[in-house]
């Protein structure tokens, strides 16, 4: 990862282009989806080992072969591209806006700020924003100020946008350098609701990770455990990181396309793909020929897990998902306030059961691995979505 050519490019948000799905796989997906329209049975493939023999891999094993953080090379890329803000050298713009894909659990902009010992502007609580009692933001003076999540300064209600307007006005009038992070759903909302694009410079983002970058990243994560683990592609029974293997390339191309090259989505999907043979006792012959050392653990890289949104006639689950994405995370009490009607609670339960959203410490957030399905659902139903 020290080679900078492997880092994602720092580009304008409008130039973002997700990796394309391999044509053959795209047709397979289209065909299976068309069939699913008419029948409920799933179309499945079997590979070198039956899927029935594969089970969940333990968290400890996953942490050994695919350790966190999920942002991968982005921190390094941030360090490289935002160095003028760290060293307080004046760059072309005193304000930098970085719009990132949603579901960033690791808070990468905040992590970058801490890493470089930069001051972060702490947002008020959601409750104080809703009640209109939040203190006006003070930018102050000093070296670069970081606002890790612009979306944390607003709630999508008619009386909760004044604070972010004050913040934008303060940013515009300050002489201080400011680095702002924002998720793409919140950015689309803020552009419309408070004309945020008039106050801030053109948003920047990172180019999508392509299949080679993903393969390199996951290979690097796994490299220290090569003696203890072997990772085989379920379809071909080949080492997943072996070069010039068409099956492996196809897997990583599909991973890049499905995840839109978003590091944290790809990282979660990668971990979900790693399964263990849990029928060793009855089916020992399956993996013994593949490894020389009997102490080595074999993990099978299976087809990407597909999430399905709850099949309901109303679009309430999608309204819930859009609201969560705009706020990054939100409590159930506040979710009801930003949605029409109180029936949202039923949709929340459905989404939790389907593994689409997560509730931790009372806050709801979208699971990164489910983001491809969420985005597809929102796009298909005409919801306003950003480029990422």
């Amino acid at each position: 990862m020290s080679d900078d050519s492997h880092l994602p490019k720092y580009i304008k948000l409008g130039d973002f282009e997700p990796p394309a799905m391999p044509t053959q796989r795209a047709f397979q997906i289209l065909l299976s989806k068309s069939l699913l329209l008419f029948k409920k049975n799933k179309v499945g493939n079997e590979g070198a080992i039956s899927s029935d023999h594969l089970g969940k891999t333990s968290e400890a094993d996953l942490n050994n072969v695919a350790a966190s953080p999920a942002y991968g090379p982005l921190l390094h890329a941030l360090n490289q591209n935002l160095s003028p803000y760290v060293s307080d050298l004046k760059s072309d713009s005193k304000v930098e806006l970085i719009v990132l894909p949603p579901c960033d659990e690791n808070d990468i902009i905040k992590t970058w700020a801490k890493h470089n010992k930069l001051e972060c502007l702490a947002p008020p609580t959601s409750q104080s924003i809703l009640s209109g009692r939040a203190d006006s933001p003070v930018i102050g003076s000093g070296n670069t100020l970081v606002i890790p999540r612009l979306e944390a300064w607003m709630m999508r209600t008619h009386s909760s946008l004044n604070l972010i307007r004050q913040l934008l006005a303060a940013i515009e009038s300050t002489e201080r350098s400011v680095v702002i992070g924002c998720n793409v759903y919140a950015w689309e909302f803020l552009k419309k609701s408070v004309d945020a694009a008039s106050f801030l410079p053109d948003p920047m983002t990172f180019d999508a990770l392509d299949c080679d970058q993903l393969k390199d990243w996951f290979n690097t994560l796994y490299s220290s455990e090569k003696n203890n683990y072997k990772l085989f592609h379920q379809q071909t029974a080949q080492d997943i990181f072996a070069d010039n293997d068409e099956g492996n390339d196809s897997y990583f191309k599909e991973l890049a396309a499905t995840s839109s090259g978003i590091p944290w989505v790809a990282w979660h999907l990668w971990r979900k793909s790693l399964l263990t043979n849990d029928h060793k006792a009855s089916d020992e012959g399956n993996d013994t020929p593949l490894v020389d050392d009997p102490n080595q653990h074999v993990l099978w890289v299976t087809a990407l897990q597909e999430y399905a949104l709850p099949d309901t006639k109303s679009n309430l689950p999608l309204l819930v998902l859009q609201a969560i994405l705009i706020h990054h995370e939100i409590s159930i009490d506040h979710l009801v306030k930003v949605l029409p009607g109180i029936r949202a609670l039923a949709a929340v339960s459905l989404l939790k059961r389907a593994g689409i959203i997560n509730q931790e410490n009372g806050m709801l957030s979208c699971r990164p691995a489910a983001y491809p399905a969420i985005r597809q659902g929102l796009t298909a139903s005409g919801f306003p979505v950003g480029v990422v």
Binding site: S160, F189, P384
Partner: protein, 275 residues
């Protein structure tokens, strides 16, 4: 010899119908059955796919139904006519004359509607999926048939309207093939209030609606009436099927925002329509 050939030609030309033994009834039955099947499959399959596929292609799929049906019917008719009729210029005049009399006396309105239906396919005053108002009926165009169209009103009534309305009536199309349409919510306030505060509050209500289409404008229009100050909040939902949910959301939160901004809604028992 030459004379008998001429006579035979004249006899043949004067025969309107082909000889029964020359008409392939099996072929005609196959053409009719195939056309019916094709139209039936189109009518069932395209709306099914439209409701389940991406919303961006919904209107294209729905709009294709009447066009495909028209082409299939025209094709089948052109195929069948020579199988039954002995088409010559003389016979054409006979058929046209007979048809004109029948249409003029018995099927005038019916044929007028069918011709209007063909015109409607090309002029597109309405397409399946559009929201239209014809006379006093407002609803979503469910299907466009040969003679009439069906609209489903917000009260879930199905209204069948003959196409010949397009000759004489205004057709109000709210979305005209687009995926969204403007929704207008009206508020009537007592005149003593800060109008700029109310305008800002109502605009904020629309901007924070979960149904809002970001690429379209949000507008608040204020007019002074003798009995109240009239506010019209205009905005677009991202899916026109959500228009009533959107209007409900704007109305509910708009009322709350008006109270918070110091406005008081007024009630008028009856207002002359001209106002």
């Amino acid at each position: 010899m030459e004379q008998s050939a001429t006579e035979s030609g004249q006899e043949k030309a004067s025969k309107l119908l082909n000889n029964l033994q020359d008409i392939s009834f099996t072929e005609i039955a196959i053409i009719i059955a195939s056309s019916w099947l094709l139209i039936y499959v189109t009518r069932k399959m395209l709306p099914y796919l439209a409701e389940r596929g991406p919303s961006q292609i919904r209107l294209y799929l729905l709009g294709a139904v009447p066009i495909i049906r028209l082409f299939v019917l025209v094709g089948a008719t052109l195929w069948i006519i020579p199988l039954i009729f002995n088409i010559t210029f003389q016979n054409f005049l006979v058929i046209a004359g007979g048809a004109s009399v029948a249409i003029g006396f018995a099927f005038k309105d019916y044929v007028s509607s069918i011709i209007a239906g063909v015109v409607a396919v090309f002029e597109k005053p309405y397409r399946p999926g559009d929201w239209v108002r014809i006379d006093d009926d407002y609803g979503e165009v469910r299907s466009v048939g040969m003679r009439s169209l069906e609209i489903v009103t917000p009260a879930d009534d199905v209204v069948t309207i003959p196409h010949d309305k397009i000759w004489s009536n205004n057709i109000l199309n709210s979305n005209d093939g687009a995926e969204t349409l403007m929704c207008v919510v009206n508020f009537y306030l007592e005149p003593t209030h800060d109008s700029s505060l109310i305008c800002a509050a109502l605009e904020e209500v629309a901007l924070t609606s979960a149904y809002l289409e970001y690429s379209e404008i949000v507008l608040v229009r204020v007019t002074q009436k003798p009995w109240a100050t009239h506010y019209e909040l205009k905005a677009y939902p991202f899916d026109m099927r959500d228009q009533f949910a959107f209007i409900t959301d704007l109305t509910r939160r708009g009322k709350q925002a008006i109270v918070e901004a110091g406005g008081i809604e007024t009630m008028v028992s009856a207002v002359p329509q001209s106002l």
